[in-house]
């Protein structure tokens, strides 16, 4: 598969209060963006266990996006900080495994930032498209 025709499959974990609401606002504002990112709702980015991310890559996702509230704005006060630290550590592990750490990205999108959400999706999709498909830990024959 050439890199040009490759359409990445990306999973996003978005917190219910900010990023998920930002994605909703992009929708109500009818801001078009690429369809590659599929959203999974969690209550807080702090719920995102690094295992979820590894699992997504393992199952065949080419990239993972984690969206939380802006620093200081977390609905649960500090869950986004925990997420940020966990992902920083996870990125080191990914490098160790030979997986480009850019496949995992954390972003802050507020409930008011529909446009920013669409911009982030465009960027992530472009970035992962350039990186190509993952294969390092991908399960070859899926369920």
């Amino acid at each position: 598969m050439s890199k040009d025709s490759f359409e990445p499959n990306i999973v996003a974990f978005l917190c219910n209060w900010c990023s998920y609401a930002g994605a909703d606002l992009a929708g109500t504002s009818r801001i078009e963006y690429p369809p590659n990112v599929k959203i999974i709702r969690v209550m807080c980015s702090g719920r995102v266990n690094p295992m979820f991310i590894v699992n997504a890559l393992h199952e065949g996702a080419d990239g993972v996006l984690i969206g939380g509230c802006h620093p200081g704005d977390c609905h649960y006060i500090q869950g986004n900080y925990f997420a940020r630290r966990r992902i920083a550590v996870l990125k080191k592990l990914l490098e160790y495994l030979g997986i480009d750490e850019r496949r995992v990205r954390m972003t802050w999108v507020s409930a008011a930032e529909g446009k920013k959400f669409a911009d982030v999706i465009r960027e992530v999709t472009d970035d992962i498209r350039k990186l190509g498909p993952t294969h390092q830990i991908r399960r070859s024959n899926s369920w």
């Binding site: 499959n9 999973v11 219910n16 209060w17 900010c18 998920y20 609401a21 994605a23 909703d24 992009a26 929708g27 109500t28 009818r30 801001i31 078009e32 963006y33 369809p35 599929k38 959203i39 999974i40 709702r41 969690v42 209550m43 807080c44 702090g46 719920r47 995102v48 266990n49 690094p50 295992m51 979820f52 699992n55 997504a56 199952e59 065949g60 996702a61 200081g72 704005d73 609905h75 649960y76 006060i77 500090q78 869950g79 925990f82 966990r86 507020s110 409930a111 008011a112 930032e113 669409a118 991908r138 399960r139 899926s142 369920w143």
Partner: protein, 630 residues
């Protein structure tokens, strides 16, 4: 396992870009899917009936609805599922409108994405577990923050329903911006005449406790049981003794020397003052930034105010006091600030000399509003207050030469257009300009000149800027105290722009007045009434349902390491010394899941967001494509 999947067309909102028939057919192929249907409006009565009928007739175990955002209709469908006898948490919702049909143009692509998202939800649904909703009792008291017209209205209405209401106002008197106005558009009612009786009602109401000159410091807890820390700033006046006679202010060494904020600094006051004569409470306050005694500990040889007060109300030993109150619900009515025209030098504010005795008056509208580089929103009141002011100048100076630079006159309220027509007929020169056209106020040989593109320059005696409304300076910090969000314009964000305009995303906290966005007085009052009703509902019920989505600990796996304890911002996790394990206080837990992601033993699980549920969803979404779904 029998799963029912229902794909909504949402009229054409979804159906225009997602081939729902194809979606339904594809989803039917997934194991465990007993029925897969599509319908025009799943949220409508017949749509819900469809689900209920299937639950009963086909004995469904789980229900998946693919429609709009769960932030909108999840409660609707949970209720429907529950009515048909299924646990409401055996329901899963997929957002194929906001996250799919509204943001993609290509029908094939959007249809494929919808199938992937729904596959994820179906896989997750299999692992959903029944949850029990918990009820907690409600403290039958309310807190209203902000004593402007919105806060006054909300307090009176909650108190009238029979509930104790605390009204916290940061300044020495309630009344807010409305107390500063002379006349109100479009009826030209005297502002004080309609406001001050309400202020007095607040002071007299047996159910209202007014905490003036106080600020909300911190809010803990949850709907029904908020714990609020309030800072009572020292007035240096014992309000039980002060009768508001004003002898102290007369005797103050700084009498008539301090600009009075209430009059936009056009008049002068003393260091001990009431903002205006109709203040409620009518109690004097010492301004700590100016009082010599407070600032330097010395006021001549002795403080004259203290000597003058024969009731011995003045007390320089007063200190800041923190009190804690318990309330069930909160109404936020913190209001707005005025746009600062100093930030736009082109209007000459602060640089051109004030000339207040002339007859040539120019009004410039949309200052700090409808500005693509600044505040993009319309402030909704400036068109009408400009018309009001022009009318008042005409009334006082019949031969004045009046010009208004406007872009669009927005006279949308009841009686507004009629008022605008009346003012236009008073020989007032309305000059239309484009928003982006240059306009400038400059000083030219002692004259103030207004230069606007397409019009001859005007040498004005007085230029009036119709400044817009902006969020309170500390709106951001206060949104964090309240744990609510701001919209992109900086005002507080309502839970739904149309259907939940007074609710916030934090249960038990409601919005009234301009803190939610610019409003005129009738709109602020109407919203305050709405917020009062919403805030009274849980108080009247006496109990509320709280989140069933909490963490839970498998005591067999818990090693008692206490790592989770520090992660919980709500102190919901406690170590049981006897058993040597952690325990969850389910009422305190808000369900964020930070502890579950931290537990090194995997002993903590999140209800409704359990590992197996999320992993199944990931598998469904990702593997659908990997296995060649396309």
């Amino acid at each position: 396992m029998k799963i029912g999947v229902y794909t909504c067309q949402c009229g054409i909102n979804i159906a225009a870009t997602v081939d729902v028939e194809k979606v339904a057919k594809e989803i039917e192929k997934i194991p465990n899917v007993a029925v897969s249907r599509f319908y025009k409006y799943m949220c409508s009565d017949p749509g819900q009936e469809l689900i209920k009928k299937d639950i009963k007739e086909l004995k469904l175990d789980r229900v998946v609805v693919a429609s709009c955002s769960p932030r909108m209709h999840e409660p609707t469908f949970r209720a429907a599922v529950e009515e048909a006898g299924l646990n409401p948490y055996f329901f899963e919702m997929v957002n194929i409108r906001e996250h799919c049909s509204w943001v993609h143009l290509d029908k094939d692509v959007a249809t494929e994405k919808a199938i992937e998202l729904i596959t994820g939800a179906v896989c997750r649904a299999e692992f959903l577990e029944p949850l029990e909703k918990k009820e907690v009792s409600v403290i039958p008291k309310a807190l209203v923050i902000g004593g402007g017209i919105a806060g006054i209205q909300a307090s009176l209405e909650i108190a009238d329903k029979g509930f104790k209401t605390y009204l916290v106002e940061r300044s020495p008197s309630i009344g807010g911006h409305m107390a500063q106005l002379d006349k109100t558009f479009p009826t030209m009612d005297c502002s004080a005449c309609i406001l001050t009786p309400k202020m007095v009602d607040v002071a007299r109401h047996p159910n209202i406790e007014l905490l003036s000159y106080s600020e909300v410091e911190n809010i803990d807890g949850y709907i029904g049981n908020f714990k609020v820390k309030i800072k009572k700033k020292p007035r240096y006046v014992d309000i039980d003794k002060c009768v508001g006679c004003g002898v102290c202010a007369e005797s103050c060494r700084l009498h008539g020397r301090i600009p009075n904020e209430f009059d936009m600094k056009l008049s002068k006051r003393s260091a001990i003052y009431v903002p205006f004569p109709q203040a409620v409470p009518l109690k004097y306050t010492i301004d700590p930034n100016n009082c010599l005694m407070v600032k330097r500990g010395k006021c001549g040889d002795h403080p004259l105010c203290k000597e003058a007060c024969d009731r011995e109300a003045i007390d320089f030993s007063q200190e800041e006091e923190i009190i804690t109150i318990d309330v069930g619900t909160i109404v936020v009515a913190t209001g707005y600030d005025i746009f600062d025209p100093l930030t736009k030098p082109k209007y000459g504010y602060g640089t051109c000399e004030n000339v207040l005795n002339g007859k040539k008056v120019v009004f410039i509208q949309c200052v700090g509003s409808r500005d693509k580089e600044g505040n993009e929103y319309c402030s909704r009141v400036c068109c009408m207050y400009t018309a009001k002011q022009a009318h008042m100048v005409r009334d006082k100076i019949p031969d004045a030469d009046l010009t208004i630079y406007y872009t669009d006159v927005r006279a949308f309220g009841k009686g507004f257009e009629e008022f605008y027509n009346r003012v236009k007929g008073e020989n007032i020169n309305y000059r239309r300009r484009e928003l982006d056209d240059p306009i400038e106020v400059v000083t030219n040989a002692d004259k103030t000149v207004v230069k606007a593109k397409g019009y001859s320059d005007i040498e004005a005696d007085l230029v009036v800027l119709a400044v817009g409304l902006v969020p309170k300076e500390d709106a951001k910090e206060f949104s964090r105290v309240l744990n609510i969000s701001q919209s992109s314009d900086g005002f507080f964000l309502e839970a739904h722009p149309k259907l939940r305009p007074v609710d916030t995303f934090t249960d038990g906290i409601f919005l009234a007045g301009c803190c939610q966005g610019p409003k005129d007085i009738p709109d602020a009052v109407a919203q305050a009434s709405g917020a009062a009703v919403r805030a009274s509902e849980p108080l009247a019920q006496g109990k509320v349902e709280v989140e069933a989505i909490t963490s839970t600990i498998n005591e067999d796996l818990c090693s008692g390491c206490k790592v989770c304890e520090r992660m919980c911002p709500y102190s919901a996790l406690e170590f049981d010394e006897k058993a040597g394990v952690m325990r969850v206080n389910e009422v305190m837990c808000k369900g964020c899941g930070s502890c579950a992601s931290t537990c090194p033993s995997g002993a903590i699980s999140m209800r409704h967001f359990a590992v197996k549920q999320i992993i199944a969803q990931i598998d469904g979404i990702v593997a659908h494509k990997s296995k060649g779904g396309k």
